[in-house]
Amino acid sequence: MEIATSVGALRSLRMVFGLLVLFLYVPIVLLAIFSFNAGDVSFPLEGFTTEWYSRVFANPALLSALKRSAVVALVSSLLAVALGVLASFALIRRRFAGKAVASALFFSPLVVPYVVFGISLLVLFTFVDRLLAETTGFYIGLGLHSIVIGHVVVSLPYTILTIMPLLERLSVSLEEASHDLGASTWETFRRVTLPLLFPALISSFLIAFTLSFDEFAIASFLAGAQPTWPVFLFAQLRVPSQLPVLVAVSSMILVASLIFVLGAEIVRRSMERRYGREFAARGMV
């Protein structure tokens, strides 16, 4: 490390890092404080209470919103990971004409502003609903399904980006060996490739899930009568009577996600180490 920084520089860098972490966490610590504050989410503080936490479970609208977000995030993440695996395979393991175009298409949702994407989905769905209503009398309407569709699109680049590097590292010779031994393509995939990809699948699932769970911009345009958690939260933000309860929920979500993410990371590392060790010993990875 001495080649990169002098002692003085190191000290200032450490300070900058420390200040940034402080900057990042001040609002969060503040929220944690308010979740125990006996009054409204504003100064001055009024006394300690755990009332808000107990009230969380007494609020059906809040719990439904959380549940809906969890469902939307689960479904859209699973879809995004599945599609991401397919796309990664095509991009890494296959040669085909127009790969550059396909690649650009897969990654373009990364740069489209959510406001534009959200309203374009709104226009599309409104048009399709109008058409359906006229021709068949059926009416789908906006709702959780619309949000899932939107979230899959924006999560897909992230899942591909996470899966591709690992797929690249995995030697093709493993798959070829499996084929030589008589396994079908599907069997090879299921018993050789998929387990090896598992760490990336977990990571990409987590990324997609976090993205979808907290996503507001697109959901705000596509939510029908049933708000997801961010949409619900936004509506309640302006009505401070509920605010402390929402802050309490958020703290709980933070703790739960930290545990979840740490747990997933531990699992991922152990799997990587296990397979990495075995295959490295055999000179295959």
Binding site: S42, L86, A90, Y114, V116, L233, S250, L254
Partner: protein
Amino acid sequence: MATLEAASSRREWRRRERRGTVGLLSGPLLWLLLFFVTPVAFIAAYSVGAVSLFPTDSSVISLDDWGRFLGGGSIYMGLFWKSIRMSLTVSVVVVLLAYPIGYFLALCTKKRKYVLLLLIIAPFLTSYLLRVLAWKVMLGEHGVVNSLLFSLHIRSPDDPITWLLYSQFTVMLVLAYVWVPFVALPIFVSLDNLDRSLLEAASDLGSSRWRAFVRITLPLSLPGVLAAFLFVFIPTIGEFVTPLLVGGTSGYMYGNAIQDLFTRGLDWQTGSVLALFLLLVVAGLMALFGRFVQVRSVAA
């Protein structure tokens, strides 16, 4: 004999593979075509009047709305430039702040690298909206910052700092707050991939650490920096949530105009023009600078 059989079965497999490629691609491609390309095409069609959904829309195909927007003096064009200015400021500040962070993580820590990285990422597990709310509480006229100033007698309670909240400054501050961790990642990745032996060689040849930084590290990390810059610049031009919460009247941005026109103004045509214009600008930026951005370097 065994090798011949193995070779022919491999060829057979490769042939099946090629057919499989179509199967692989069809899922994701179809999804994107249906739910990404088509909606954007709809917006384009809407903006010229080829599609209309409401009685108030004109059903004549014309470039009138585009003309009014691009022609001189449209208020929305001025708003666009205002948003560009704000995004540019935010992006530059964010990159300047994130670079030392990425540098620190990549080149100065060994054992606790990933723990520190996790520390930076953890705030994303709280709701973004509530973090913005916390800032609102901190920056108000009777919020944390002003209360602190009162108690330290730097300012009197009758004279709080008013521009902390509901201003352009607020929007830029909150956006920077949200984006710095995001941006530190690609910078970290590109610095992490730096070949240390180059720095060792420079040191062996008698170069000072500062010179080595300026002439080796910085140039090599520039693609990562550019990627990071675009990574924050592009989404913030169209940002509307933060201005809605803390922008007041002066923090109103281009994204807010789009959202308003679609959700309240019932003017989906002008809204489509604005939306498509933003998309074209973004596409142009990517076309110009995309070759500097290796998308892989963004992956953490």
